[in-house]
Amino acid sequence: MSKVLKEQIDNMEMLCQDVFKMTIKSEYVAANALPGQFVNVKCGGIDALLRRPISICDVDKAKNTFDIVFQIKGNGTEKLCHKCAGDVDIMAPLGNPFLIDDKYKNICVVGGGIGTFPLLYLLKSSKAENKTALLGFRTKAAVVLENQFRAAAQNVEIATDDGTYGSKAFVTDLLEQRILELSKLGQKLDLIYTCGPTPMMRKVAAIAEKNNIACQVSMEQRMGCGIGACLVCACKTKQGEDEWGFSHVCKDGPVFWSTDVCWE
């Protein structure tokens, strides 16, 4: 169950140009948040009216804190980055989390840009034997949380669009390579988790399907209420045979099975 909470900001840190990590003290969220869930944050007053959905990036249960990492996009996130102390008004934790199950032994996360953030807490929470993280960023200066990812997964590969760091490639290329390498060793990924721009996730979903690997995607959509009441955050999904309908990212998602999403 989620709650409306006014919680104390514990720390605020700039990770790179325009990307900030906010650590928030919250016994309730630390105890209840699951990987893939998000918080709906009030950023400003009447000029950033709606709350902004931001993923839970990490949780420190011992300290009763959790982190959100966000990039400045517009009015709301711009306001949020100036909050360094005091409290913040959140609704949390929200949404349908990633599936974590012991039966998936060899997992891989594929993230792009701001879509990498929710994958960290997922990797930390998973007890899979073999964990791979394939992370894509625009350029070297935009690479964040690398050390945290390295601590949470055995294999971490980074791609940048301009080749200034890691490989000059798309993360989807890295995924195809990884699948190929594993198959040479007679191994196979059991589950792929992905979050990032829609074209990237569409490609990841296609690769997963082609290779018969289960895949979970975390979708993004503009939101109103964040809890399933206003029906604005629609995502086209398969419902029944040959049927489709609009599911809602805030309540039915953000995490969906890739095969349930209509990728058109």
Binding site: V4, L50, R51, Q221, G224, I227, A229, C230, V232
Partner: protein, 305 residues
């Protein structure tokens, strides 16, 4: 301290307080019941219902504008029968009044829905002739006195519960529309529905909403809504339910003073799920402060300069 009475009687229905949740912003109540005791609310107007299930418009369905939002949900709903079977029983556990908001493509559809709802446990019907987000019907009925009169008088014949007609602000003379609804047998009118608007993504040179235009709501529309509620309340004898941008008790009191017997709260719920309760408490404090015993002491008490 004196005890104040917030209850209002509208079209024969006893609302324990004048706070009703606006259609389309509160779903069928379930989601918000995690945050708010629905027993505390005067009423809930449910998501707009159609005769058959509707999938709604493609996303994006929302755009934020200064102090407001545009939406183009397009009446996604499971259909009136599914609502009665699957959603109404949940709502009926609570001591709050349930208003069924209905929309259709033809007058016959509206009548059929009113008939179906007649044997359900809802407390009132709200005729949505003002939704800007669907192609056929709906808004078209609401923009002329003749259109309003025709649909209201026809649907009224099938209504077992009181009939509220919800008016659109996208008209030039709200008074004549309100009077037409009254003359045709409406038991109450509610206004405003959303104002047709547009928001553009300047980088893509395209509207943000997939459906191009959308209905505007939120604090930015309040002055327009308030003026229209005042004009409508002056023009008719039936009770008026006011809405549009209400997010604080001061906002709600303005509407009551302007002549609304009750208010609906929509967009503000997205920002603060607890706002209906806070508004209710604020109204109570206001009444106490001026030594009023009842909400009726302020309804329509605006004096023009």
């Amino acid at each position: 301290m004196n005890k104040v009475d917030l209850s209002v009687k509208i079209a024969g229905i006893d609302f324990k307080n004048p706070l009703i949740m606006a259609s389309g912003t509160y779903g069928f109540g379930k989601e918000y019941s995690e945050y708010v005791d629905l027993n505390e609310l005067g009423g809930i107007s449910v998501k707009g219902l159609t005769l058959k299930e509707r999938k709604g418009n493609p996303p994006p369905r929302i755009a934020e504008t200064p102090a407001g939002i545009l939406n183009s949900v397009g009446l996604q709903n499971p259909g009136v029968d599914a609502f009665i079977k699957d959603d109404l029983p949940f709502l009926k556990q609570y001591k709050t009044k349930i208003i069924a908001n209905i929309a259709g493509n033809t007058i016959e559809e509206y009548c059929e829905m009113a008939e179906i709802l007649g044997s359900s446990e809802i407390d009132a019907i709200e005729l949505n002739v003002s939704c800007p987000n669907v192609k056929a019907g709906c808004l078209a009925f609401g923009t002329t006195p003749k259109g309003i009169e025709e649909i209201t008088s026809n649907v009224k014949k099938y209504c077992k519960q009181p009939l509220i007609v919800k008016l659109t602000p996208n008209v030039s003379d709200i008074k004549s529309i309100a009077m037409a609804a009254e003359a045709a047998g409406a038991d109450c009118i509610s206004l405003i529905n959303t104002i047709l608007g547009l928001a553009i993504d300047i980088h893509k040179k395209r509207p943000i909403l997939a459906n191009n235009f959308g209905g505007m709501s939120g604090p930015a529309v309040k002055p327009i809504a308030l003026r229209m509620v005042y004009e409508a309340a002056q023009a008719v004898k039936i009770p008026v339910i006011g809405m549009g941008g209400i997010s604080t008790s001061d906002d709600a009191i303005e509407f009551l003073l302007a002549g609304a017997s009750a208010v609906m709260v929509g967009t503000a719920n997205f920002v603060n799920p607890l706002c209906p309760i806070e508004i209710k408490e604020g109204i109570e404090q206001y009444l106490k402060r001026y030594n009023y015993n009842s909400i009726y002491d302020i309804i329509g008490k605006l004096e023009l300069n």
